[in-house]
Symmetry: C2
Subunit: 454 residues, 2 copies
Amino acid sequence: MDLKDILKNVDNYLDTEIELNGWIRNHRPQKEFGFIAFNDGTTQNGIQIVYDNNLVNFEEVSHYLVGCSLNVKGLLVKSQGKEDYEIKAQKITLLGACPEDYPIQPKRHTREFLREQAYLRPRTNLFTAVFRVRSVAAYAIHKFFNENNFVYVHTPIITSSDCEGAGEMFQVTTLDLERVNGKPDYSKDFFGKLASLTVSGQLQVEPFAMNYKKVYTFGPTFRAENSNTKTHASEFWMIEPEMAFTDLNGDMEIMEKMLKYVISYVLENCTSEMQFLDSFVEKGLISKLNKLVNSEFTRITHEECIKILKESNEKFEFTPEYGEDIAKEHEKYITEYFDGPVFIYNWPKDIKAFYMKQNDDGKTVAAVDLEVPGAGELMGGSQREENYEKLVSRMKEMNMETEGLEWYLNLRKYGGCVHSGFGMGFERLLIYITGVDNIRDVIPYPRTPKNCEF
Amino acid sequence: MDLKDILKNVDNYLDTEIELNGWIRNHRPQKEFGFIAFNDGTTQNGIQIVYDNNLVNFEEVSHYLVGCSLNVKGLLVKSQGKEDYEIKAQKITLLGACPEDYPIQPKRHTREFLREQAYLRPRTNLFTAVFRVRSVAAYAIHKFFNENNFVYVHTPIITSSDCEGAGEMFQVTTLDLERVNGKPDYSKDFFGKLASLTVSGQLQVEPFAMNYKKVYTFGPTFRAENSNTKTHASEFWMIEPEMAFTDLNGDMEIMEKMLKYVISYVLENCTSEMQFLDSFVEKGLISKLNKLVNSEFTRITHEECIKILKESNEKFEFTPEYGEDIAKEHEKYITEYFDGPVFIYNWPKDIKAFYMKQNDDGKTVAAVDLEVPGAGELMGGSQREENYEKLVSRMKEMNMETEGLEWYLNLRKYGGCVHSGFGMGFERLLIYITGVDNIRDVIPYPRTPKNCEF
């Protein structure tokens, strides 16, 4: 029996005997009775267990420490205190003891300390909330795409192509490194060639959009960048949808619709978790998210964006320039200026990837970034260049080899069409939804430079 | 507008003008009219488009080749032929041409040929079906666990521990291999130590079960085994649930419930796909699956299984022996003997992993394999050893180091409890559901020894 199911239909269980297995989160034993904050992990808040000296093992129970696992039988009753319901224990059985030096005591721990105890931190209120939100958000993403006729495609993790040069790559090998002398002979490696961990599934998912019309990937991606920031991890999950017969406007529509759907779903299905995060992590979190769900996203071109930035009287550290990228401070300004999420589209082609649709102005590409108040860039997408000659000539301009990407180029020859897609880092979304500001705290076991524990 | 949505509420659209984008799967132009087998990819069968010389571009349309992408406007009408519905075209616009040497012509291709065209093969009827079933089955798995209060945990892909020695591992590195001289200095590698691709998320997901009670992973796993068989891939997806307060019987219950749920969901939501696969890949596929869904799974011990095998009059290539593993031919015999799925549990401890619950007989562990008619072993699971001392002494017996696994062992100290879990290779399930017999044909871009294309 799950506590969650009992509380969902609490009237059915009121004043009846229930049985639960779970853990002691906190314990206040008194002389003739005691209170246990108890949770089986299916809810955020658990339930209070009240016991008294009618228990045959009252003395023993009063010594059970935080962290113990218990089997509890008792009556579900309305509580007189602040909790709505509690269990009046009839029988409490110890399943697994827990020593006094158990690290997760009911007090505030620093997140740095808890990172070192990554395998135990789900047992804190904070991480119980964060990782359930992660699970529910992942489900919401699958649900959204399923309801909108998208096909889920598992693009490969090990790859021999490097997408857009999106970032430094990890090498994957079975060569005996001790025996490599000078230039490695990759013909003897497992795949007979140099292989790496993927940085994006986009190129591999596009062919599936050319059959199913609407597809998405949702899987791990990797960056071997030696950067130790709050927002970089070496291993993270990405959502990459791709839609045939869809231009940049259609792309923005789906981006907006998906984001609102996922956030609404989390708000509806993680009520207690979000309340906890709102109270203890980011004040105003829920109203921030509700505001986003109810807002209409602004759409401006990169040129309009630069104009607004230039005409502002802000003293920026970096001067905004036409034809150049924008800085974090600019992102912040522009979302505050519009008091809501802003799509910035038609970016200077020289700062964007080769596969993006070249606009008629010869200067920009049909790329879009979504800037969100308090989060900065949350997603990026583009219409793809569907013209074979333009795509190849852009690759040549950028000194890219077409060798090895013939298959990708062929999509433009074999019934090609206008198509678009975008990418969203799942952890970036979770940072925004949970209010937790460090990517290490939204990943079960984070991988960063010099850190690969558990 | 998706064809799928139109056909779902076909009465709403009958005799009205609809507009679709999609591709020509086949084309039979006649003198004064023509038929196009057309699909936008949201359905298995697509829809027939009928056009005649009232089209202003009739002449041009009649020359459109297989593979072209089109925009079609026309009336949805009841068809007089064998199709139920068709579109009487009012306007047909070419979106993307396709040359005569397009490889995916409407004829039978060998699966070997199509593997080489992995990026185009979703456009065939076979792979349209297979990869939609893959997507729908993945969704069903998430849906099942979500409905049963499981939390989805993304266990790490890059790892420094090797689970159970479950298989050979790929190394992940950023060292410059050309400059490695002799023994590599892993303190200079990206993670400061030897890192590999995971073979299983089980050890890392167990700690989450010790908070959330019920959890699962669903992600890619890797084996660097140099085996070229129909059932081995170097990269494949695994589902690994883990349940606290659950013994081996509870484990088997969930295994059975999950399998029946996923198969039922696919049968209900991929009707046309399954009909196609039943007709062209495995005759009787649907009734095989329906039979499984409606069967009760037998449960026998390994000892009982060996007894049955020994008492049979079969001439096995390998003699069945107590205390030993069973061979494929034995799996086959035993599922035929019971005419249905069979759980074989309580395996000899010496052929199983260190973390499995040691039974009181001193000889067996609480492990279970599910054997399914026509598929062999589809899942494997076990109750985990929750006793710290027994677990450590088993590791010593097996010459395993406890160093680096202290965190895993600690779970037995900190409120440990009876818990169980299992693993299912997603592709193995797909082979069973689709009837396709080669793992290379149920993975979008398969990775196998010497093969890492696209």
